[in-house]
Amino acid sequence: MILPAIGLARRWPPDAQRRRSRLRDLHRPQRGIIPEIRDGGLTLVDWLLAVLPIAMILVLLVGFRWGAARAGAAGWLTAAAVASLHFGAGPQLLAFAQAKALLLSLDVLLIVWAAFLLFRVSDEAGGIRTIGALLPRLTTDRAMQAMLIGWIFASFLQGVGGFGVPVAVTAPLLIGAGFSPLAAMVIPSIGHGWAVTFGSLASSFQALLAATNLPGELLAAPAAILLGFCGVATGFLVAHAAEGLPAIRRLALPIILIGVTMAAAQLMLASAGLWNIAGFGGGIAGLLIALPLARRYRQMGDEGKQGKPDRSAIWIALSGYLALLVITLGVQLTPVIRETLGSWGLRIWFPALRTSQGFATAAGYGRIIYPLTHAGASLGLAALIAYLVARRRGVLGAGAGGRIVGSTVRRVSSSSLSIIILLGMAVIMAHAGMTEILAQGLAQGVGHLFPLASAWIGGLGAFMTGSNTNSNVLFALLQQRTAGLLGISVPWILAAQTAGGAIGSVIAPTKIVVGSATAGMAGKEGSVLRALLPSTGILLGLISLALWLILRIG
């Protein structure tokens, strides 16, 4: 009998040493692994059956326009059936796989729930509306207005909220500033995409870590670099969407300044291990540099149009995020606090598993969750502080607490179900050897052109499933294995996966539907999608090109 091994356990001292050694191994080329893993056993039937769950999700989402949870359930059932009937996965393997998926889901969902709770507190306090109303008054240059609202403010909102909030909030503001409904929908959609991975307090990035079981220190910098390229390019695309080529020529310098500042802030925070506030930090840095720059693009005689901003409302709106900043920095930068709080983790032991065909998964702990240093705990505490500040200042109406919690639960219920289903499918596929077979097929099929395809696979996953998070859950393991088999740097391929997922999520039907509803474009989603496709294609192409060059140089 295998004894259960669940509990709050102290972090092992050798962890750091093992992690460092693992980081070195993952960056090292791993050529010649293919014959060692599977010696000539890959058949077309195996590969087609392994790809069936993913193909089914793709067809149901795109062809039949089902939601992610519904299509994911079909994928789960297919994966479980194929794993049992063809790949020899027994009930015990399926049982442990589903339990492991629950642990991974908990790790991701704690952040998703707490991040949206924090956003709802700030929104309920009225501060987000105040900031949004202030921005158009800073400049009369229409392209600069589009950049301020649709690129920088939308990126900030993605950093703090996500879940379709950036487009839903900024599209009406752009319409109020005189943009057409289509432009008001397209500009923030393009504008916030680069901030998705580290936005929503890095819930997509956390999903990448959960799916691959790799440390964040390894993946954060490559992902932030590829997304940084996209961030700068996004500025040009937004200016072009607002006023065409003349705007690009006129605003090239501020676009580069703002874009590089936001990308650098995100990169620095992510590289320092503060990835859950990297998107937020990038947005704040963008606002700080863009506000004085915008004033330079104000036409003569406009001074009188400027009203005084309600500073109190802005500070109340930002109080939760400032609290988050202090908590995160305090925990990460103070070794005593970090080690004390991080010394307890929820770890669950999983035994070695083997299919009847011989595919083995080593024994080990599932995702270890450190409750006191988890990003979800920091977010929850920040939300509580923001609520208390807003309540003390009297800006919350009657029943605000109930509305905040109620809307949070309602908003995250669908995505929670999607995540647990998709993670279940992904873990079953991994434990049954299906992901391995898919990776081998891809490695043999596209060979060393695989880096060019990585971002597009991530983008396709996000388009299919409606989110960068779901795309990472679905495809990260596949990309990881394929890169390993081909001897390509795993961190860079995973960076392309999540960067592609971030950009691809912009054109996901679910996001377009939410944004269109607020921009008065309901029923015209096809027009929005068509308008977004060229920009999305350019950004995905840019990621592929940047990755190709980096791998060639590196």
Partner: protein
């Protein structure tokens, strides 16, 4: 391209929440059953999970 624009109704929300909770509880039970090597419990809980998936699949 036509896309559906149907906000999550109260029924859908309740069903999603219920399915999420049931799948979570079943997964926790699956861990216990697999650890204790109780074969029938594993099969029953896997069937419950599969039924949850079927329910999610059939929702509109």
């Amino acid at each position: 391209m036509k896309m559906t624009n149907k906000p999550s109704s109260e029924t859908t929300f309740r069903r999603e929440r219920f399915l999420f909770l049931l799948i979570s509880v079943a997964a926790a039970g699956l861990y216990a059953a697999a650890n204790l090597e109780i074969g029938w419990a594993q099969v029953v809980l896997l069937l419950i999970t599969a039924l949850c998936m079927l329910a999610a699949l059939l929702q509109k």
